[in-house]
Structures are given as C-alpha cells and as structure tokens.
C-alpha cells in the first residue's frame, strides 16, 4: 500500500452557489428583508438541489510516488486550490477519497498564524506550532530559521514593526523548515524580492532532493518546469492532463495562455509565405476601440491582414478559420464572398490590406485560435498559417442571481425572443 505517497481516487467537491437574500431600501424592503431572511434560513436547512450546486473539482484521480515532485497547473478557478485544501484537510471532499502515507505538512500561505503584537522569536514558535511542528523540533531548527530569514537583529521586535519584506522572509523561513514527508505547497514562492525568491526556490529544490514528496500548485511555469518531475493539469475542475512536466506545460500553454493579437514581419524575404504571397502583418482588435484591447463576448472585432502580392494578375482570396479551446471550428469566413476586390478582380503586385469585420455576440467566452489560408483561383491553397492569431473572449456580462459558469456551446449569439399571451383561460383538452 505504501508504494504511493498520495493516492487520490475520484475526488469531488461540490459547492452550493449562493442564493443570498437580496434586500431593497425602504420600509417595505425591511419587511421583505425580515421575511426573506426566514426563507433563506429555511432554504439553507434543506438539502441543495441540483441547480444550486457547482463542482469545484470532479472525479480527480492520480497517484504520487514517494520522492516525486508533482506540479499542479491550471487557470484560476480550475480547482487547484480546492484540491490542495482537500488534501491538506482544510475542507472535506464531497465524494471520492484520498490516502496520504506519511506526515503531511501544508503551506498555503506565508505567515499563517502570525500575531502582529508578538515578537519575531515568539512568532516562530507560534507559527511553527500552527503548521504542525513540535516544540523540540522548533528548538532544534531555531538558529537555522533565523539565519535563513536574515532577521537576526529584530528577533525581539514585534513583527508589526517589520518591513513587509522582513515579515515575509521570517514567515517563509518557518514554513521552509517544516520537514514533513509529504509537503503540499501553494504559490507561496511569489513573495519577497528577487534574491529571496531565488533562495526559496533553492530551498524547495533541496526539499525535493532529500527525497520528500511535494505537491506544488503554481502559476509560475518557470518554477514548475524547474522543480517538478511530473505535472497534472486541471481544467474546469477536471483532470485535463497528467504526464511529464514539459509535455503537460506545453499542452497547457498552447491551449490556455497563448494570446497572439498581433504579428508583424518587416522583412519581405523572411516573412511567412512563398513566391506568390508573403504576410506583412496580422492583427485582431476590438472594432469599437476603447483602448483597453479587452475582448468581451459582445465586442465587435476586426481582423486586419496586410500582405505582399508578388505575382502580377493573381486571383487571390483569404479564408479565416476560428477554432475554440476544444479545437472545434466555430466558423469560417472567406473574403471573396463579400469583398469585391479579392473576390472578383486580378490583383496587381503590391502591399494590400484586407479587413474582416466580426459582429459582437457571436463567439462564446474562451480562448480562440485563428488559422489563415491564402487561396488562389477560388480553391487552391497557396499558403496556410496555423497559429495566425490567438485571443481570449471574456465573459463580462452581468447575470445577477443566475448561473455564473460558462454557458455551453461554440457560439453565443444574442437572439431575439418574444412571448405573447394567447388565451386567458385554460381549458381541458
């Protein structure tokens, strides 16, 4: 049974989504508030029904061997913190189970349990005890901790007088000297100045070399790359990838984070293309241009493509393919369908700009990738650029009191709805 340090089997965590009582102003509002608070009480006492729960993580299973350093990556809200909280026993899973062999230490925050009025020395003991160290253990490591934190002179000063840098150094020093067999770490490394961050990363590396098992949650791909042998990738609460660090990270980055909103090639010799056509510039931007560059679901977009046509009298047109995160083609658009220039005329040589306008309320939220094709004579592919653009459509709409997750579907158009009353009375048929 002890061949694994951590065994997680179908861990699941359901949360109830808030139906907090809404209140209105005025006497009527207060009365209503009083009544609705009772109905809130009643609703919080019964079991939640399906529509009121969301899954923070669902059916997560993985094993970690002793001595392995496992990275956990994923976007915000993908369930990384929930997983860490379950494994460190801060909250209970609602389904599945996990088994951890060995003494567990978790480090979800720097400075857990520090009391501002107490001195550095006192806080070392207090924080150590809260993190699960015994007094003898702290006594034994006390000097080491102080040396690591570089706050020796201020040991008997209340920590509220510390600079934030000193505070963080001391706090991390205590935590870094926790010596469990299984260490669960959240992104505590992103603290302090650069030199201290390096030191912390070094310490983490040592922990790993000493053969202890580490589960490391981070956004910092460089740190994950350097520290972890293996990575699991969570997406929307599900396990999306599990494998060697570089493989999973590159998968994750390619799907999740690569955002290319503009590419420019100034040198006509090396720009992508061939003897017929070369691309000078491609970019996507919000058509309303509010300066933030933010793309929401309702934002109309423009894709601008500038290219050199190198052959006289070419019949050339552009086709754009929009892919979503699941690599499903959301739609395609061909310039020759509406554009009289690329559609029906032969182009002379020179630099051209083609613009494609995309209305708002078309794409669903999420990451999108654009593939671009140059076609000649209406159907022959001349040049293909796979990762022409990549951009994130944000969901910024306000939907009070309803579902806050992402609506399913490739597209998310705003369609017209209407309702009318046909007959007042209801007859039995």
């Amino acid at each position: 049974m002890n061949q694994y340090a951590i065994v997680a089997e179908q861990l699941t965590k359901k949360y109830r989504i808030g139906k907090a009582p809404t209140s209105r102003a005025g006497a009527k509002g207060i009365l209503q508030g009083v009544f609705s608070s009772f109905s809130y009480l009643a609703s919080s006492l019964r079991n939640p029904d399906e529509t009121e729960t969301i899954f923070a993580i669902k059916d997560i299973s993985f094993n970690v061997k002793p001595g392995e350093v496992l990275g956990v990556i994923g976007k915000n809200g993908a369930g990384k913190s929930t997983l860490l909280k379950i494994l460190s026993r801060i909250t209970e899973p609602s389904g599945g189970r996990a088994r951890i062999n060995g003494r567990v230490g978790s480090l979800l925050e720097v400075g857990t349990g520090f009391h501002p009025e107490l001195t550095g020395r006192e806080n070392i003991y207090l924080s150590g005890a809260i993190l699960g160290m015994h007094r003898v253990e702290i006594d034994r490591k006390f000097d080491e901790i102080v040396a690591f934190a570089e706050t020796g002179k201020f040991l008997d000063t209340p920590v509220k007088r510390y600079s934030s840098g000193m505070y963080v150094r001391l706090a991390f020093a205590v935590a870094a000297h926790l010596e469990p067999e299984v260490l669960l770490v959240d992104e505590v490394l992103a603290v302090g100045d650069l030199a201290f961050q390096k030191k912390c990363l070094g310490k983490m590396g040592n922990v790993a070399q000493e053969g202890r098992t580490v589960l490391f949650v981070s956004h910092n791909m460089v740190a994950v790359q350097n520290l972890c042998n293996r990575v699991i990738w969570l997406h929307d609460g599900k396990l999306q990838g599990d494998g060697s660090t570089s493989d999973v990270i590159s998968q994750y980055l390619s799907v999740s984070y690569k955002s290319i909103t503009e590419q420019i090639w100034d040198d006509i010799e090396t720009a992508p293309g061939n003897e017929r056509v070369r691309i000078h510039r491609i970019r996507i931007l919000p058509a309303n241009g509010d300066g933030t560059g933010q793309i929401a679901m309702e934002t109309p977009l423009q894709v601008e493509i500038e290219y050199w046509n190198l052959l006289e009298d070419a019949r050339l047109h552009i086709s754009l393919h929009f892919y979503n995160e699941q690599q499903i083609v959301a739609f395609t658009s061909n310039s020759n369908e509406t554009d009289p220039i690329t559609g029906a005329t032969d182009l002379s040589t020179g630099l051209y700009r083609s613009v494609c306008s995309i209305p708002g309320n078309l794409l669903n939220a999420g990451t999108h990738r654009v593939m671009m094709l140059f076609l000649r004579d209406t159907s022959k592919i001349t040049y293909r650029l796979d990762d022409a653009l990549s951009f994130e459509v944000l969901d910024l709409s306000e939907r009070p009191g309803t579902w806050y997750g992402k609506e399913p579907g490739v597209v998310r158009p705003k369609l017209t709805w209407s309702t009318q009353l046909l007959e007042q009375t209801i007859h039995n048929i």
């Binding site: 049974m1 002890n2 949360y15 009480l41 919080s44 909280k85 379950i86 494994l87 460190s88 026993r89 801060i90 909250t91 209970e92 899973p93 609602s94 389904g95 599945g96 189970r97 996990a98 088994r99 951890i100 062999n101 060995g102 003494r103 567990v104 978790s106 979800l108 925050e109 857990t112 349990g113 009391h115 009025e117 107490l118 006192e122 003991y125 207090l126 005890a129 809260i130 993190l131 699960g132 015994h134 007094r135 003898v136 253990e137 034994r140 209340p158």
Partner: protein
C-alpha cells in the same frame, strides 16, 4: 559497561519516533456522526498552549497597565456593584459584606461570560488561520475557555485580599471549589461550542451572544441572593448551572446558603448533555467550515 553506550539524545529519539510511526491519512467524506477526534486533540496539545499564550500575550501588549488589568477588572466591577446594589439599592445579603457577596459571584460569572464570549467569536476571528492550515478546530474554542482561567486566577487573588480586609476566615469547604470551577468550565465550553458553530453559519449569533449573556446574568444570583427568588420559580431557576456554581462558590467561600442540592446535580446533567451535543455539532460543521465562511 553500560556507560559506553551513548544515551539516545532527545533529538534522535524524536527523529526515530517521527520515522517509525508511519502515518496513513485517509481523506474521505465522513457521513453522519463521526468520532469526536479526541486523539487528534491530544496530538495538538502543544498548539493549545501556544494559542492560550498568544491570546494572553496579544491582548495585553502595548497596554500601559499590562497584566494589572487582570486584577483591575474584577476589583472595579466589585466596587461598582457594591456601590449600586450594596449602598443604593441595599440588597439583602445574609449579613455578608456586599463586596464579598458580589465578588464571590463575579469570579465564576466573570469567567463564564468571558469564556463564552471568546469561544463564540473564536472561529470567525481565526478564519484566516483556519482557511490555510489544518489542525483540530476544537482547539480554538477550548483555548478561549482555558485562557479565561488566567483571569479567574487573578480574580481569586483580588478575592483573597478582600477576605483579608474583612477578616473572613479560611474555611475547609473551600476545598470543594474546584468542583464548581470545573462545572463552570464545562458549561462555558458547552455554550461556547454551540455558539461558535452557529456563528459560522449565522452571523446573527454574534449579535445575540451579548444579549444572551446579559439576560443570563439577571437570571443568575450575581447581584442578589437566591433566597430572594420566589419559591414557585426556584426549581426552574436552579436548573441554570450557573446558579448552582455561584451558590456553591458562596457556600464554600463564605458559608452562606446551603450546600448544593438535587437541582445542582440536574443542572450538571444539563451541562453534560450540552457539552456532548455541542462537541458533536461542532465536529459536523468543522469539516466544511471553510466553505461557509
């Protein structure tokens, strides 16, 4: 020859212990009523010490009078009550000087109200820590109750000084005091556990606690003797465990009233029931406390 064998140092012993007991931790949803986790509590007893110490240290740092507040509070309270109820209202006290009469009740009452207040607020106040690291949560309200004992000790000091002033003899019955103190601790912990649990879910509780403690003070013989309570209400009145505790304090310290009777044993039963149910309810909420806050 045994001298040649090097004694196992504290440190190595610790390391041996650490590696030899192979913990296996099972994390799964615990349906229904789980155990009270008393073993886990014992594991973390050092943390309890630290938390109590933090509570006391933290509270009195950067105060001009420092730890003397521990003595000032009961002394000022006693003087105030003696002036209002001893002089102005002139409550009848079975020929005991009012300062002693009130102080003998203020000791357990002060402890109780303080401990309940601390314990009931403890979970919400320590949210920061609770959401970041695991330890048996029950330690927090327990630390609230235990740290109140330091205040109680200081109050005893004030009481004995006052007894000296009034030439009150020491009595053999004082040996019974620990029993009443234990009942007060158990009762405060029971109420504290219930309120701490409820306050996580319903913040209304923090409004209610102050009010409740005040109401309970009027329903306990703090400023008046039990003998003033009409006979018709006496039975119900004495089911309040604090009534028995205060009566017990007065009886063993000052020799007034009767030694405790059947109703006190009944009220101890109430305390035990509240304590066990409170601990179970607390344990049930504990698992998902972070999700609620």
């Amino acid at each position: 020859m045994t001298q040649n064998i090097e004694p196992v140092s504290n440190e190595t012993e610790f390391l041996l212990k650490q590696t030899s007991d192979q913990h296996t931790l099972l994390i799964e949803p615990s349906g229904g009523w789980s155990s009270l986790g008393l073993k886990d509590l014992w594991e973390y007893r050092e943390l309890l010490q630290f938390l109590v110490w933090r509570e006391l240290q933290g509270a009195y740092r950067q105060t001009a009078l420092g730890l003397s507040w521990l003595f000032l509070r009961p002394a000022i309270n006693m003087l105030l009550l003696s002036f209002v109820f001893g002089r102005i209202v002139q409550v009848q006290t079975d020929n005991i000087p009012y300062p002693l009469f009130s102080l003998s009740a203020l000791l357990p009452w002060g402890y109780f109200s303080n401990a309940v207040l601390r314990a009931s607020r403890s979970l919400v106040e320590n949210m920061q820590v609770i959401s970041k690291v695991y330890f048996p949560r029950m330690i927090i309200p327990i630390a609230g109750s235990v740290s109140g004992l330091v205040d109680l000790g200081a109050s005893f000091f004030v009481l004995f000084i006052t007894m000296l002033i009034y030439n009150m003899p020491l009595r053999l019955e004082m040996l019974y005091l620990p029993i009443f103190i234990i009942v007060a601790i158990a009762f405060s912990l029971a109420v504290g556990l219930w309120l701490a649990t409820l306050s996580v879910k319903y913040r209304d509780v923090s409004f209610a606690v102050n009010f409740m403690i005040q109401a309970l003070m009027y329903l306990s013989p703090v400023i008046y003797p039990v003998s003033l309570v009409p006979d018709a209400f006496k039975f119900v009145y004495q089911l309040n465990p604090m009534t028995g505790v205060i009566q017990g304090f007065r009886w063993s310290l000052l020799g007034i009233g009767e030694p405790v009777g059947v109703t006190f044993y009944l009220s101890i039963l109430v305390v035990i029931l509240l304590l066990i149910s409170g601990a179970y309810v607390f344990r049930r909420t504990e698992r998902t406390i972070v999700d609620l806050l």
